[in-house]
Amino acid sequence: MPVLAAYIGYSGVSVALEKQDGSFGFQRFPYSYSRELFSSVCDENFFYTQVLDGIAKENKVKLADFDVLMTGIVSFPLQDLNIKLMADVRDLLSKYDGNFPVLVDESAVMTKDSVLSQVPIDFVTNNEYFANISIYPQLITRDYNDQVSLDGLIIDKVKKAGIKLTSDKPVVFTGDRFARRDYETVFKYSLALDLFDSPGYYYVKIDKNNAVLLAQLIKEYNPNINVDTSQIIENVGTFAIVPGDTEVLLSTALDTGQFFDIKKSSVFAIPLDNSITTKLSVKNKSIGNLEGGVVGGTLGLLFDTREVRTQLISDIKIMNVFMREIEEAVKGI
């Protein structure tokens, strides 16, 4: 039987559905069960059964014709779904190879090897937007200040946990915060950048479909099924966290090289493709000199020379420059 894998997250349901040719289609239902709204009508079991039924119907197939696999924030029985495999999120993250997964949503931040914070944000504060998220968890905002506050809470949680995010492998950000559609796509990049605290070079990917979890869930069920996520997970590029004034020389086999002098307290993006490795030479007082190869991505190569790492989007001046840089970086590829 073909497979339908689902991840029930904080603000929605992500699904990988096997097609007739054996490939997988990724979809998202951007709503989750809200006790405040639905408890007088139905429970979680009824709601999520209808969600998966609805997704199957949209794809002109029947849910009963699939092996249903499930993971996510599930602390309730799902007796109406004939689930073949129910897996724990932490277990799936720990078994995921290749990249270093970091799951981020409003209730938890988890990495491949640790849970950074699992204290849900207390939404009933004086902030009306937060208070409304406690009722309508899927809300997306067009208000810049609300976005700053919401992402600020996630960053604070990670920083208060006192664990620094570092990895030699590419870091792939997943979870419902990255699956949520933002009014400005730049918010995801700035949040990813702010989650790093230690100086260093990191290759960053963003998973907007919770494909990391879904692919691992399918692999757990049947190791012979290979889910290709290369087109689904976005290669964002290399983040260079280099506090202070920095000199950069970039060169490929085809050109003579470009020199950049990046002042401290700035965020600077250089358009760079991920198809070719570019030679990089960096001079920086705080983390030393570096020579090596680098690949880019959607954003290319991003230098962050801030010495005090406050929330990027809360600093309007630097954020305006960052947004312009990103626009140019994306156009430049």
Binding site: L37, F38, F47, V51, G54, V124, E128, A131, I140
Partner: protein, 333 residues
Amino acid sequence: MLAPIIRKIVENKTVMVERYLPSKGNLFVQKGDKLEPFQKLGDCLYSPNTVYFPKEFAPVKFLREKVYFQKGNLLGKLGTKKIEAESNGYMSFDASSEEYFFEDVPAKYTLLSGLWGEVSDVVPESSVLIKTTVTEIDLVACTSNFSFGELVVFPNPTEILEKFYLESFIKTTEGKIVYIGHHADTETIKKAHDLKISAIIAGSADPTGFSFAKSVNMGLGVLSGFGRLETPDFIYKLLNSVAYRHVFFHGDLGVLRIPMSGTEEETVPSKKKKSPLKVIKKVMKGQKVQVLQKPHFGKIGVIDRVSVSSIFVRFDNELGPVEIDLPNFYIIE
């Protein structure tokens, strides 16, 4: 595009309601009896106010028996402070807690049915279980209290009028459930608490007012969310049509239960009742939706057209349709 359906009003639900005496007494009904709202179920003798004094309290005289005191008589001293009887009543000594307490002279308490229905069970001298039909209004956020009382419905007034209405009801609001208008600010919630209103219902509330209501164990239910949001018109019409009826505020279930008579005009056509419950639906032109996006947050409109990741909604008093992002809306039925 799929979206959840929320039912603000769930009509004609059969439920069991327990009506009980505050202390042991006489019940006048038996299993199978048909009931009307003003029918007497039973009565008992009951002291509405009992005050326990701290251990440091020194009574005017050592007593182990119940002693009668008239209003204004000296009961004892708490340090240097004289404590007088606030009403006619009895002072006694509770041997288990070793504390003195004062209770009002017991008065006759009459328990009314408050609803239409049939007696399903009777616990002698204590309570009556009634099978009844109710309409439930969904409260998207509410404190977890339970209370019941006469429903007082204010018009959807301005702030100035809100306070005027509250104050003009000063002698009659105690124990009542009051629909206060589109918005309940913190000041109004505090005022309602001072007036011993058992629960208030509003279109929206301040998050700080909500926290206050929680802290003082007062019933508060909101219909649309937090901020300055309006009550949907069809809910207001329903509330208005059942003003002065005995209603049940179920904070634990997130609903306001309104007993219904089951007469023809209050009964939903049987065809509607039999249709299977759906909580997810394909988003289509002409559907009624509640919008959760500023500046239309909480408003109800009709879908004009459906785009890939947004919908266009027409509101009353608006010239053209307004674009609303998925998932910032719910289908309303």
